[in-house]
Amino acid sequence: MSIQKILLKFEPKPENLLGVLKEIQKENGYIGKKECEGAAGYFSLPLARVYSTASFFDQMKTKKESKKIIKICSGGPCLGEKSMEVARQIEMLLKIELENDARAKYKLELMSCAGLCDRGPIVMIDNQIFEKVKPETVDDILANYL
């Protein structure tokens, strides 16, 4: 779906901005400069304000991401269930570093709480959620889903 079509689904009121951005993110995978300018023009808002909104939320990307992203929950309960050990394990297995762009294929990121605190630690690959991940079981997941 083109940006224009997404925009026309919403009324040009500032409160609809987030809805539009979410939709663009879903359709496009990221919110690029062109999309951002389109939204700014449609809502008659300054580009800076649209970009501030888009970049504020972790769930929205402002750059095209060609890497596979593995996310680990950094919420308190997940940390308590040793999510960082899982992260270390993934780092070792894939030879990548947390929050580091250097490797070409994968990127390991922390995410904020996904609301599944009783089933932590949570690992997310693309949009798939894995619950109660242990350092011992993480290599299985990686082998199957990457």
């Binding site: 400069k33 951002c36 023009g41 300054p46 580009l47 800076a48 304000r49 649209v50 970009y51 501030s52 970049s55 504020f56 402002t62």
Partner: protein, 602 residues
């Protein structure tokens, strides 16, 4: 309403914040984000914390409103400890490269760090203090999000100095309504900058650099260019000084705003010339002369428009055409070009004084002195960051040379002088070079909002009526109001003028004109608060009271001048006689006028 601060009663009004009450009564509270020109603070810097009887924890005094029975303590142990910790946290995210910093000695963060003796750096491990790899990560994380912008002609940004106080974002939004800057990302990755990290694309008024407490946003440094030109023996360096600069320059060397000589003349005018001479400038000219030329040209243009009945293109609703807008503020011109291109035909075609003098230097003066214009380096000392952009505009050319080669703001010049260990206060006063150096009171008025109108009126009214003006002061166009309009009666016709400063008011005015609610013949717009006197390149700190003092100095200086009407400036008369011909004539048209182009994106 009465509240108690440090056990003393103070009266205050509904809606006052604690910080406002304290400031009014001379109680000092440190703050980095509550700039007096902006709306009440957002409580971001957390430096203005105070203890109150209404809340268990400390509150930020810039957001807490005064209420009945409020008791405030501003300097308790707990308050000071919290402030110190917050300051250390700010410092931890700051580059801390003070020695080589542009703002060294003039940085609000540095001043506070000194006042609270931040010397332990608990939160930033220095290289030798690093104990484990984890701490190295911490250090890396701090600098992972640095954005440097040097790709625009006027303003340089370096986010490693940024403390995210948001003053620039608010200045851009509240004063100028441009919103070129925004707060991007969040929490530890928060970054103040442009969308998609594109080079700054705005009107370059520099108000963001004027409110920045650190060196995160500063004027682009061209002092090195000037030094290079001065060191080159083949080049002739010709400097011009803007009208407003002489009233504010002394502030950079610790002299209070608005100080003037007993006669009313600008305090450091002669010393500025002397300092520039000492730096190595070959000639020092006065932009005020070109301001007079601008006035004469603009008045001629206005009279022509009035006489022909056609005052340019305007909104379709109006039959007789729109007002004539001044064009001496480059930010305003850029604003029209980018956001209201339909009003471009209404802009006066005159160049700004800076460009006029630059053009005259490289033609009239060079011809007279038999100098090849290629050997002249034309330098301008300006109150404004936007002038840097204006000097670079491709249409600002005579022959192959740009009219003006280097533009320095007041802050840059002062920095260069300090670096060269020249303190103007020890220098003997010197005079401008007489070739292009005589000024009038009307030209001096250019320094503040309303001045161009007053100066134009002095010339236009005399030319219209053919009689000499009795009273030169037009009080109706004076004052600090942000939106002034007046009607001046000349020969039974009414000349309707409007004066605005700050772009938010200009937007308001354009809206009114567009809707047909207001009609004017002449509109003066200055992009900065109170005109050039509050410009983006002027000394910091600037606020309402400082600007008021500066304006008073300008008005006094006008009064003290022997010649107070632009068209009576002997040098102006001479230039027209020897070189330009008549005002609005062919040669004047070629050298003193310019064209504007539509720069809007849609």
């Amino acid at each position: 309403m009465q509240i108690k601060i440090n056990n003393k009663p103070y009266s205050c009004e509904d809606g006052d914040t604690i910080l406002a009450v304290c400031k009014r009564n001379g109680i000092s509270i440190p703050t980095l984000c509550a700039h007096p020109d902006l709306l009440p603070g957002e409580g971001v810097c957390r430096m203005c914390l105070v203890e109150t009887n209404q809340s268990k924890c400390l509150v930020s005094s810039c957001t807490q409103k005064a209420c009945e029975g409020l008791e405030v303590l501003t300097e308790t142990m707990g308050v000071n400890r919290a402030r110190k910790i917050n300051l250390e946290l700010l410092w931890a995210d700051h580059a801390g490269k003070c020695a080589g910093c542009k703002k060294n000695g003039r940085c609000e963060l540095q001043n506070l760090a000194e006042a609270y003796s931040i010397d332990e750096f608990k939160f930033v491990p220095r290289r030798k203090e690093l104990n484990s790899e984890n701490e190295l990560d911490m250090l890396k994380n701090n600098w992972s999000h640095t954005v440097v912008d040097e790709k625009n002609p006027c303003i340089s940004r370096d986010s490693q100095y940024c403390i995210e106080c948001r003053s620039c974002v608010r200045a851009c939004k509240e004063i100028q309504t441009i919103e070129a800057l925004g707060v991007n990302y969040r929490s530890s990755r928060t970054n103040v900058g442009t969308p998609y990290e594109i080079p700054l694309d705005c009107i370059f008024c520099g108000q963001c650099s004027a409110v920045c407490p650190t060196a995160a946003i500063t004027e682009k440094d061209d002092t090195e260019k000037l030094e290079k030109a001065l060191a080159d023996p083949k080049k002739l360096v010709v400097v011009q000084i803007a009208p407003s600069v002489r009233f504010t320059f002394a502030e950079e060397f610790g002299i209070p705003a608005g100080t003037r000589l007993t006669g009313g003349q600008a305090f450091w005018e002669g010393k500025m010339v002397a300092a520039l001479r000492k730096l190595g400038a070959d000639k020092v000219f006065d932009t005020t002369l070109a301001a007079d030329l601008t006035i004469v040209e603009e008045a001629t243009e206005l009279l022509r428009r009035i006489k022909s009945g056609k005052k340019g293109l305007a909104s379709p609703k109006r039959s007789e055409g729109g007002p004539m807008f001044t064009s001496c503020c480059p930010s305003w011109v850029l604003f029209v070009e980018k956001y209201y291109p339909e009003y471009i035909p209404d802009l006066s075609s005159c160049k700004s004084p800076q460009q006029m003098l630059g053009a005259l230097t490289k033609t009239y003066w060079a011809e007279k002195e038999k100098i090849n214009p290629k050997d002249i380096v034309s330098v301008a000392i300006m109150p404004c960051t936007s002038k840097k952009y204006e000097a670079e505009r491709p249409e600002m050319k005579t022959g192959e040379q740009q009219d003006v080669d280097i533009v320095l703001t007041v802050r840059e010049l002062a920095r260069l002088l300090r670096r060269k260990k020249i303190n103007p206060s020890y220098l003997e006063d010197k005079k401008f070079d007489p070739a292009l150096g005589s000024a009038t009171g009307a030209g001096m008025l250019f320094a503040q909002s309303g001045g161009v109108t007053e100066a134009v009126l002095r010339t236009a009214v005399e030319k219209l009526t053919g009689e000499e003006l009795g009273k030169l002061e037009f009080e109706v166009v004076r004052g600090e109001a942000e939106y002034k309009c007046a009607e001046i009666e000349i020969n039974n016709t009414k000349l309707r003028v409007a004066i605005v400063h700050e772009i938010r008011n200009a937007r308001k005015l354009l809206g009114e004109i567009k809707a047909g609610r207001a009609e004017y013949d002449f509109v003066e717009v200055m992009a900065c608060p109170n005109g050039c006197i509050g410009g983006g390149g002027q000394p910091q700190p600037a606020n309402q009271s400082v600007r008021k003092a500066r304006i008073q100095a300008v008005l006094d200086c006008d009064k003290s001048m022997p010649v107070r009407k632009s068209h009576e400036n002997p040098a102006v008369k001479k230039i027209y006689k020897e070189f330009l011909g008549a005002p609005g004539g062919e040669k004047a048209e070629e050298l003193l006028h310019t064209k504007f182009e539509n720069k809007s994106k849609s």
